[in-house]
């Protein structure tokens, strides 16, 4: 039924009927559209400063909301490094030294591979719908504003995230991350909506930290396939350490 309502052939937020006033459903729809149940993607991550750029090529596999495995394909220094996420646990694997390192909670603040994304982003990226309460804010022009406030029992780094979503396609165009003092700390923007394997997904992401706006991290999706079949042990310690 849900799928039928959100049939991509007729997708428009205004067509969502009563759900247009339900922020939870709005976010769930966006997650379903962008993530699917299982996906394989190839992307570039560019860390950009005024004088210097550094680009990583990454392949990423995702199943559900709790399992993900990414492998860096270039540059040579990082080639082969893998990150596995299962539930709330995360490991990095450095194949040249055959070294597996569990990413502890103490490391969640740390930058992932020198980017503006943290280990926490990689670990918790999918929990927006579960760890936050959602309500609509005042519309900003063509965008619907959704305020995501951390649930009292959830362990999240950002107490508040504000989502700006397009009224046309329901997909997010911006996440604003606020700290405990309600101060804006960083902004993630989405653009270049593309059709990947029947799903509409922003192909261009930009994360800009407020403390240094001259620096940003850009993710560009090169390919994205959905409903990919993975081996039963694809998201496992064994597979993590097999390259």
């Amino acid at each position: 039924m849900f799928k039928k309502i959100f049939s991509r052939d007729i997708v428009l937020c205004v067509a969502l009927g009563a759900n247009v006033n339900n922020a939870d459903e709005w976010l769930k729809y966006a997650e379903r559209e962008m993530r699917g149940d299982r996906s394989h993607s190839k992307m570039t991550m560019t860390i950009q400063t005024p004088n210097w750029n550094r680009t990583l090529e990454i392949e990423s596999d995702v199943e559900g909301k709790k399992q993900a495995l990414s492998t860096i394909q270039s540059p040579p220094k990082e080639k082969g490094i893998r990150t596995l996420r299962i539930e709330n646990k995360m490991w990095n694997y450095f194949p040249k030294l055959k070294r597996k390192v569990a990413v502890s909670s103490s490391m969640l603040l740390a930058s992932w591979m020198g980017s503006d994304f943290t280990n926490d982003d990689i670990l918790k990226a999918s929990s927006m719908a579960e760890d936050y309460n959602h309500k609509f804010g005042k519309d900003e022009g063509e965008f619907k504003v959704i305020e995501n406030t951390a649930k009292s029992n959830s362990k999240v780094m950002w107490p508040k995230i504000v989502t700006l979503a397009s009224k046309d396609d329901c997909l997010p165009r911006m996440y604003k991350y606020y700290d405990k003092e309600d101060k804006l700390r960083r902004t993630l923007t989405f653009s270049n909506i593309k059709n990947f394997d029947g799903h509409k997904v922003p192909a261009h992401w930009e994360m800009v930290p407020e403390e240094n706006k001259t620096k940003k991290t850009i993710i560009d999706y090169k390919s994205l396939s959905f409903d990919v079949k993975f081996k039963p042990d694809h998201f496992s310690q064994k597979n993590l350490t097999s390259n």
Binding site: I47, K98, S106, L108, K238
Partner: protein, 403 residues
């Protein structure tokens, strides 16, 4: 060493068959280091009678891998060229001498193979230079369901200790050195059973000819290492076995606090099982790890390793730390391109303190430069460890490339 080159060439030149992935990667680094000797090293019994010198180092790895379904064949060749007048000391009392001992510090880890049956390595010292060549990884790996089998010269890498990691005798921590992308190989077999995502156990059967000499018998290692995720915040590692003619048992317990990780390691080693003169050994480590801010990472390690009364002090089996130690390591990202590392390590008993500073700058996608300094300070009058007197004051620069 020709054998090693041939093996590597064969590995990399196998025909590319359907479904076979071939990968070649590596790194090379050149270093210049200006070093100043500890004045006390000049005295008997050390006789390290030099003042200041330069030390040049060029080292690199070439790593090749062939992957066929659930099987892998992988090799790594490590080469190192070092040049300094420290390799060529003047005769003492008319007697020719080996290199000054400090050269062992600058080329740590000296042994690129921890448990060695098939030499596959060469060291050539001539005049004021030394050339080393070693195939420190060469193994076949096969995955079958929840099992993994490995045979050959393998890396064994586990344990949370970065400065001291007693539960893993098969790979020396290199956090205190200026060398990177280096691990030690071990000759033998490994069998791993992945029971589930909470429990993995690895069995090792390794051999070592270094103790008896290459013409002697193989000293065996029988070893088990398990990882058990007890709960979301507690992980237990256990080790048990016989290694280098000692029975060893120990483990690691790590506990995740909300914003930090604390961990401890204990390892007990019996006396020599062949009844050679020895004392039993006991190592303990306590560690604390926290990402203080998004740019600042703090690591504290402290511990004790019971003194081996029968070890020769020049062996550098354990470069640092010493009998009792505490170390504080800070890593700070000054800029996306620049990371600074400052470490201080203190021998509580002797008062010996060692400061290490490193700054690493990304010059390009494949190249980084490193400026480093090593300064021994606070050498106590009651220093019991002669090796501490060998630690020099260094400043150096390195250029590192990856391909």
């Amino acid at each position: 060493m020709k054998n090693a080159s041939i093996l590597l060439t064969l590995l990399l030149s196998l025909p590319i068959l359907a479904g076979v992935d071939v990968d070649l990667s590596g790194n090379v680094e050149g270093q210049f280091r200006h070093v100043k000797n500890n004045e006390e090293a000049d005295e008997p019994p050390l006789f390290q009678d030099w003042n200041q010198e330069n030390f040049y180092l060029l080292y690199g790895n070439i790593n090749g891998k062939i992957e066929m379904g659930d099987s892998r064949l992988e090799a790594n060749w490590f080469g190192r060229f070092s040049q300094s007048e420290l390799y060529n000391p003047d005769p003492l009392f008319g007697i020719e001498r080996d290199s000054y001992l400090a050269t062992s510090i600058y080329t740590f880890p000296n042994k690129l193979v921890a448990r060695d049956v098939f030499q596959l390595q060469s060291v050539d010292q001539n005049g004021n230079y030394q050339i080393e060549s070693v195939l420190n990884k060469f193994y076949y790996e096969w995955d079958y369901e929840e099992h993994r089998f490995m045979a050959g010269r393998i890396y064994v890498n586990y344990g949370l200790g970065e400065i001291f990691n007693p539960i893993n005798p098969f790979n020396q921590p290199t956090a205190l050195t200026a060398i990177s992308q280096v691990a030690q190989g071990n000759d033998g077999f490994s069998f791993t059973f992945f029971a589930d995502d909470k429990h993995t156990i690895q069995f090792l059967l390794l051999g070592d000819k270094r103790i008896e000499g290459y013409d002697g018998q193989i000293d065996r290692t029988l070893w088990a290492h398990g990882e058990y995720q007890y709960s979301e915040s507690i992980q237990l590692d256990y080790v048990i076995g016989e290694d280098q003619n000692r029975q060893k048992i120990g483990g690691q317990l790590s506990y995740q606090l909300e914003e930090a990780l604390i961990f401890s390691q204990i390892l007990y080693q019996s006396k020599n099982v062949k009844n050679e003169p020895s004392n039993d050994l006991f190592d303990i480590l306590l560690g604390y790890d926290e990402q203080l801010t998004s740019k600042w990472h703090l690591r504290v390690e402290g511990g004790h390793q019971k003194k081996n009364n029968y070890a020769t002090f020049t062996s550098f089996e354990r470069f640092l730390p010493t009998e009792y130690f505490v170390a504080i390591a800070n890593l700070y990202e000054v800029h996306p391109l620049l990371k600074v590392n400052a470490t201080i390590i203190n021998d509580i008993k002797s008062g010996f303190t060692y400061l290490i500073g490193k700054g690493t700058y990304n010059l390009s996608k494949n190249t980084e430069a490193e400026l480093f300094g090593y300064v021994p300070v606070g050498t106590g009058d009651e220093a019991e460890n002669l090796a501490q007197k060998l630690v020099t004051t260094d400043i150096g620069v390195g250029l590192r490339m990856f391909f």
